[in-house]
């Protein structure tokens, strides 16, 4: 059960769920949350690879990478939420369907 393959599949399931959220949710807040799920899924896959394949060699590169991804995700979330607040102040909603001033 606890194998590399299954861990990757778990990661990909989470990734797809997150992506599905980005594709379908009109509430941009939830879209940002879905993006966080996607980043987490990637972290899971990196750590799985790190553990199952390279742990014996004493590698912890994956750990460092995951820490970086968490930091980046935090930064992006902060900026994303800040933009969202600005948009809310201007429009009084955070609906992606309303946010189509530019197209074509």
């Amino acid at each position: 059960m606890f194998t590399l393959q299954n861990s990757i599949i778990l990661g990909l399931i989470l990734f797809s769920i997150g992506a599905y959220g980005v594709l379908t949710r009109r509430n941009l807040l939830v879209v940002l949350m879905s993006l966080e799920i996607m980043f987490n899924a990637v972290n899971l896959i990196v750590l799985a690879f790190n553990y199952f394949r390279f742990y014996q060699q004493g590698k912890e590169l994956g750990h460092y990478f995951v820490l970086l991804v968490i930091a980046v995700a935090a930064a992006e979330a902060a900026v994303g939420l800040a933009i969202l607040v600005t948009i809310y102040r201007n429009r009084r909603n955070v609906d992606s369907d309303e946010l189509t001033e530019m197209k074509g």
């Binding site: 769920i17 599905y20 939830v30 553990y51 935090a74």
Partner: protein, 205 residues
Amino acid sequence: MTDPVVLTDVLFLLFSVTAIVFSLLVVVMKNPIHSSISLVLSFLPIAAIYVLFHAPFVAVIQILVYAGAIMVLFTFVIMMVDLSEKEYTLHKGKIYKLLSFLIMGGFLLMVPYMVTRFLPETISEPKESVVLSHFTSKKEAHEFGSTKNIGKLIFGKPVINDPVQANDNTLKSMQIVSFELASILIMVAIVGAMILARTRKKEER
């Protein structure tokens, strides 16, 4: 029987299912508050899986940063934005949803299929004989959690039985750059949040 293999299997299954369920709830829930709570709840089993992957420090950070910091941020924004009840039903047309579902389903079928096909064999846990444990000795394991061993706990250094050892110094110096850059990134984010979200009164004066 307390076969460790079985135990990890069970734990993994449990955490996986929880993580998947709560992630799904994030996407499906109509109220963003519920979504955000589900998001926190989905991070916890993921952190637990990190521990199974012998990455306790990352697990801790996961909980601290995500559950502790990012979620608070999200919650604050939800409170600030204060959407009316009507606007919570934010879904697109049925066909679009179905299309997205099919595409993500296709993605979900294809990529795991490819990965499992590409991977030579089922790779299970590294054997105990190679990696003794997270700790060098029983004594150390006993002292798990004491402040003396906080460094060990954090970095969770495994014992290396493999003769091929990575050049540690190189690795360390490699990460200096990326972590320094990450600090700049955080600062950029702070400046950005400040620029974008600070109240407008000053400006309109």
